[in-house]
């Protein structure tokens, strides 16, 4: 139940590693923010600075408008779920969950009420008398969440809470976190390196690389309009395809030329490029696997490819293709409309044609890696 504001927050570790560079972010009350990025990009560091477990080397951190840089974790009124759960091994599940309440000298009958209530929501009532050692990974995770839940803290921090669980349990817990979030109505900051988790959970996603924020936006925004190559490649699975191409300007209209094919851009894109004063140049063309159409016959606007690998995913196929420049392209092809002949055609070495409309094209500058159209 609080807003969090980070202004130029910076972290330099003792060994002179700068883990986080000038981090600027304003998190609204009751918002669910996800920090996502590859390993070592500074997600945990940022989260731990918010929690007060790491000193802030520069900048200011505000919770509810109050600067908390120098406050101890216990005075910040935040709850945190750790990646390795960090349950107190010598205490029962009940005592684990009650620990923070007892420190606050909450009367014992209220402690009882809040603990049993949280246990009920999380479905761990029958384990309350057990020690953490006697619980499975998923149950421990619930206890860890319960421990954070009873606090009614201003901000709820989670550092890769699902990464120690197997795939199935992870999906289940993810759904439960979404439900929990609706019940708790508090501000969430969630760290993960899994873009699926980020997309499904976040109101807004913060994509980080090497201690720098690359993009902040809703899942839809970062998916539709990635501002640079990194974000484009990071969000979405399978990854976006990147092809070398040339942007050609004729008057105020643009087209992309690659592999002997010339694709005209749409009026909106023309307008943006004209406004930015971009001329003819080399570009990197980005196309999502789900945005390509697969043709079995040649077409003047389609690129010719050969099939390398063919992956059956059930409702769709993932085709790994190679174009004439030896760029690798992955496309997703729904199986439902395929005829028998077409299915037979889909095997190693056969030719295939792909095309895509202008509106799904992402163009990036090869030098700056920034998007020419988006952002």
């Amino acid at each position: 139940m609080a807003s969090v504001k980070l202004t130029d927050v910076k972290k330099v570790y003792d060994n002179k590693v700068t883990a986080v560079h000038d981090f600027n972010l304003e998190i609204q009350d009751k918002e669910f923010i996800v920090f996502v990025g590859p390993s070592g990009c500074g997600k945990s560091t940022t989260l731990r600075m918010i929690a007060g477990l790491e000193d802030i080397s520069g900048g200011t951190l505000e919770i509810d408008g109050q600067v908390v840089n120098d406050l101890q974790p216990k005075d910040r009124d935040i709850a945190m779920v750790f990646q390795n759960y960090a349950l107190y091994p010598h205490m029962t599940v009940y005592d684990n969950i009650a620990f923070s309440l007892r420190l606050k000298k909450v009367p014992e009958d209220e402690v009882y009420e809040r603990v049993t209530n949280a246990a009920q929501i999380l479905g761990i009532t029958e384990y309350l008398t057990r020690k953490p050692r006697a619980l499975s990974g998923g149950q421990r995770q619930r206890v860890a969440i319960g421990r954070a839940m009873v606090r009614n803290a201003k901000v709820f921090l989670m550092d890769e809470p699902l990464s120690n669980l197997d795939a199935k349990l992870r999906n289940q817990m993810r759904a439960e976190i979404i439900q929990l979030r609706q019940k708790l109505e508090t501000t969430f900051i969630y760290v993960t390196h899994d873009q699926t988790e980020a997309m499904t959970l976040g109101d807004r996603i913060v994509i980080m690389r090497d201690g720098i924020i690359e993009q902040v936006g809703t899942p839809q925004e970062v998916f539709d309009t990635p501002v640079n190559l990194f974000v484009a490649g990071f969000i979405g699975s399978p990854q976006m395809n990147f092809l070398k191409a040339s942007l050609i300007r004729t008057g105020d209209s643009f087209s992309v030329s690659l592999l002997g094919v010339n694709l005209a851009l749409n009026p909106d894109q023309n307008e943006v490029l004209t406004r930015k004063g971009i001329g003819s140049q080399e570009v990197i063309l980005g196309i999502r696997p789900e945005h390509t159409a697969v043709l079995f016959e040649p077409d003047q606007n389609a690129i010719e490819c050969t099939i390398d690998v063919y992956e059956m995913m059930g409702s769709e196929l993932h085709l790994h293709l190679t174009d004439q420049n030896s760029d690798r392209i992955i496309v997703r092809l729904p199986t439902i409309d395929l005829t028998r002949e077409q299915r037979q055609h889909l095997s190693f070495g056969n030719r295939l044609f792909i095309s895509f409309p202008a509106k799904v094209m992402h163009l990036f500058d090869p030098e700056t890696e920034k998007s020419l159209i988006d952002g």
Binding site: D14, Q72, K74, N84, A86, Y88, F99, L103
Partner: protein, 289 residues
């Protein structure tokens, strides 16, 4: 199972049985050798026909005279001295050692590494080296002779911070994230030590208490120096040992044995109760409790 493997199994089992028996016999022999002095002392303490050293072990006449006589000497005073010194030292030293270990294990501060190295090196000097200067200092403070007990406590406790190795090693095996979780949950550092770390380190706490108690309880050299011939300031080791000099031995040897038994008593009881933890504590770093 084929016959050959069956045979091999039998062979293995037989050879294991042989080596087990051998080990047990060896251990029994060692423990007998180790126990003989204790048994002798206990037996001697109940001997009443002769108060000096004799050439046999089993008393001819049994009785508790030695113990009654013991309580007419200064022995109770020495015993109290030792007990107070050991108890106070045990409490203070345990607190200091545990706080020190927690600090060195959990906090990262500028001079941490140099401090640890410095203490390691300092610890290598034999304590005896400081004896003379310590005596002077304590004498100036008026903490020698009849006032030896507070002086001794001061000496015992003063360097206790350096005995942090074992407990710090154990604390290091407790994940840092437990501290962090507790800090987020609203605990102060002291509460974390008290409510999280110590309950998880019971063996080490007990080990620390026991070693802190045992040092003063069996100390001779410092105690002798600081008491400096004043009977009221002696501890048991010094007092009892003085009975073994040429003039007194024939009169007080059996009393010495009785005193020895009484000195061993509380420690033995403590160990019997706490031995489970003690063993865990000594092997602490390797096997997490």
């Amino acid at each position: 199972m084929s016959e050959a493997t069956a045979k091999r199994h039998m062979g293995l089992r037989a050879s294991r049985a042989v080596s087990n028996t051998f080990i047990h016999v060896l251990l029994i022999v060692i423990s007998i050798i180790w126990l003989i002095p204790f048994v002798c002392i206990v037996l001697q303490s109940f001997r009443v026909e002769n108060t000096g050293p004799v050439g046999y072990i089993i008393p001819h006449q049994w009785g508790t005279d030695n113990y009654t006589r013991l309580f007419q000497t200064d022995f109770p005073r020495w015993y109290t001295n030792t007990f107070i010194a050991a108890l106070v030292t045990a409490v203070l030293q345990t607190v200091i050692v545990l706080c020190m270990s927690y600090t060195l294990s959990r906090f990262r501060f500028k001079m941490r590494q140099p401090l640890m190295r410095f203490m390691l090196i300092l610890g290598m000097f034999p304590g005896m080296l400081t004896m003379i200067i310590l005596y002077r200092v304590l004498k100036d403070l008026g903490l020698t002779q009849a006032n030896a007990v507070p002086g001794l406590i001061l000496v015992y406790v003063a360097s206790s911070g350096m005995g942090y190795y074992v407990s710090k090693g154990f604390f290091d095996t407790i994940p840092m994230s437990l501290d962090e979780a507790a800090r987020v949950d609203g605990a102060t550092r002291a509460k974390i030590l008290y409510k999280i770390i110590l309950p998880l380190s019971k063996p080490i706490v007990i080990y620390t208490v026991l070693t802190a108690f045992m040092g003063p309880w069996g100390d001779y050299v410092f105690a002798r120096y600081i008491a400096f011939g004043t009977s009221a300031g002696k501890n048991v080791a010094v007092g009892l040992y003085d009975w073994l000099n040429k003039d007194q031995i024939s009169n007080s040897y059996t009393m010495f044995c009785a005193g020895g038994v009484l000195v061993a008593l509380p420690v033995t009881i403590l160990f019997l109760f706490l031995q489970k933890y003690y063993v865990e504590g000594v092997t602490g770093g390797a096997v997490k409790g």
